[in-house]
Symmetry: C2
Subunit: 403 residues, 2 copies
């Protein structure tokens, strides 16, 4: 059984609901933190659970290069590999490859590209990008698409959209023939017993074990899901900045038929007002009973706005990347923590935030960590920014629930 999507409340165009995946439930609208290389940079999975993260995004392109799909598949898939028992979504690699610019060459068959790590040559097609995502074993995977560049002529946008439609069909065909190969299905027939079960001896003294018996346990993470569960395939709507083409892209993608629909090809350099216009125009045509995923957005304000337009899922590197650059989102606006004016500021980062960072540390301390290039700066900044994004979405869900 793949995902189930239940809408529980509607308020205007917005809806709140529940996405039931093989690895747990996800309350929507949801913001998905980005864990590019099977890690949300600097934050341990324990903390992500504590923050209330219900679904993570992994990047197929990056994982394909390191540690490799076959490695992760052999180790039972991404969930088991990264010890994350909750839901995961992987992108198709299409956007990442698109970002390589000069390092890629697109044909009907697929995309030839060079690794940003060592320049080695690789090829992604709808078939092998889907194969890779089956090997990684996320709960939700994406059809391989071409992300149309901006700006682009209408004819170029149409051709690109048509290519994405043909690739969506090929992705679906491959997926339907191979979905049973997902590692937590195929590799786990019968009772699921960890390799070293019974061999493992944890030091018996209560004193020695006192250092925090909290969080998800090693063994429980290695027990797989029921073999009846499978992944779900979403397709990506393209069509550039042309609302007619967006509408056509939606309609023809729905004809092929997917478990959910993503809006791709945005946040590629166009003005923010145009992004919003295209999202608003596109979302109207998406089926009401399927999850709608807007890829690669946005600021805290924007994710709330898109949720209000009827978007159910979003992801963005902004909270994690901004954190690494010392840019912190708070209820009082953005705080560039490196500025000298925070050096003596004894107040909490955000007096309205209840996260571990705001409950414990002062702005002066966070400023010192950042200015001194301490790794803890990245850790704490990321925890706070994620907390702020997740709180924003909790408030949005709450407000939709109240109508």
């Amino acid at each position: 059984m793949p995902i189930t999507f239940k809408i529980e409340a509607i308020s205007g165009a917005a809806r709140s609901g529940r996405l039931i995946t093989p690895h747990g439930e996800v309350e929507t609208p949801v913001f998905m933190p980005v864990g590019t290389l099977a890690s949300v940079k600097g934050v341990s999975q324990d903390l992500l659970e504590e923050l209330g993260v219900q679904i993570l995004l992994g990047n197929t392109y990056h994982l394909y290069l390191r540690p490799g799909v076959e490695q992760i598949r052999r180790l039972g898939g991404l969930h088991r590999f990264m010890a994350w028992p909750r839901a995961i979504l992987t992108d198709s690699g299409g956007f990442q490859v698109f970002s390589l610019n000069d390092l890629r060459k697109v044909s009907e068959e697929g995309v030839t590209f060079r690794s940003h790590l060592d320049g080695s040559s690789h090829f992604f097609s709808p078939e092998n990008a889907t194969e890779a995502q089956i090997g990684l074993g996320a709960d939700i995977i994406m059809a391989f698409d071409e992300c149309t560049e901006y700006p682009a002529e209408r004819e170029r946008v149409r051709q690109s959209m048509e290519l994405t439609l043909r690739w969506a069909e090929r992705s679906k065909k491959y997926f339907e023939q191979h979905r049973h190969e997902v590692p937590w299905n195929a590799n786990h027939v019968g009772p699921d017993v960890p390799v070293w079960a019974g061999q493992r001896q944890v030091a018996g003294s209560a004193e020695i074990r006192s250092a925090g018996q909290v969080g998800t346990s090693f063994d429980s993470l290695r027990s797989g899901s029921a073999p009846t569960q499978t992944q779900s395939l979403f397709a990506i709507v393209q069509g550039g900045m042309d609302t007619a083409l967006r509408k056509e892209s939606v309609e023809r993608t729905i004809e092929i038929g997917f478990s959910g629909y993503s809006i791709g090809g945005l946040s590629v350099g166009e003005p923010r007002a145009l992004t919003q216009e295209i999202v608003a125009a596109t979302v109207l045509h998406l089926p009401a009973d399927k999850p709608r995923y807007l890829m690669g957005v946005g600021t805290p304000q924007e994710i709330a706005e898109y949720a209000n337009l009827g978007i159910d899922m979003m992801d963005c590197v902004l909270p994690t990347r901004a954190a690494r650059h010392g840019l912190l989102f708070t209820s009082e606006g953005k705080i560039p923590i490196k500025q000298a004016r925070y050096a003596g500021d004894e107040g909490p980062l955000d007096p309205n935030c209840g996260c571990r960072v705001c409950r414990r540390y002062s702005r002066a301390y966070l400023r010192h960590l950042y200015a001194s290039n301490e790794v803890l700066a990245q850790v704490l900044n990321t925890v706070h920014n994620l907390s702020f994004y997740l709180d924003t979405m909790r408030a949005v869900r709450h407000s939709i629930g109240l109508g």
Copy 2:
């Protein structure tokens, strides 16, 4: 009231006990993780508490440069600045300045040195190094010493030892005249109310606050200690690799009189067997009723051995620095996690360890994080190595307790 030291069990030369500081009790023998710049690199204070860390070491030299002593003093001292309510010890800066080699010049008055950050010129004397440590406000501070280089002629070692003795006397004199200036004493007369008490509004919704109400709270961290409490000054025994000079250094330092005694000038390039010989010879002459602190050691095996020789306190960058280089200490020996042989290893890092890392992640995942240069590698590796060191000391204390 400064520290109190209670010996609770003796086994051979080893003893276990309790060091009662103005910021909590410390079970000895204790390993003190190094938090150079008011942070144990990559690990949040919450996790340090969970690991059972009872005392941290801060480096005066580094904190003097960034963010500056005056800044920390104004913010209430190190404990409040870094939101660490438990005990802290600062070194005198002597060893750090010694490590600068060509950038320093020693005179009777003190040491002129150049900052490793920007080459600016600075001067440390027994008086101003003590002043700096009073400003930082650790529970235990160190007399300013000259760390004798290795190898050195006997006459040079004697002269250096004599200088350290004169400096110890000057440090003590300054300390006795200024101990009341410690920020958590002088700045906190009467009821201690955080600056923004009553103004702070944490979002009221239980849902919004659900992200982990654990650990030490912001406000409680900002309540100071009773104004009767003061710091304690330890002196550092020198004398190079000469047991007679070490004995003389101990005796003449005791004559001056301190709350505790450190063995300095070791781990400076001499063979490990010689270090052990000097420790064993020196510890014999140290007073039984005062804490004995061996500076800058060692491997897990060595810290256990030194505890068995009667050492009560140790610090070392090894567990944290090795973690950053992917070298992990386990009950099965050292594991260089970057090696390809761990890429497919589904087992826990150390099957006998109960830390968060060993309970959750596989060697394969830790190897991937390290090989991919993910920040989480440093975080998790450091948590495990510290856990291993702290478990080692717990086991040592337990075994001393059992005789």
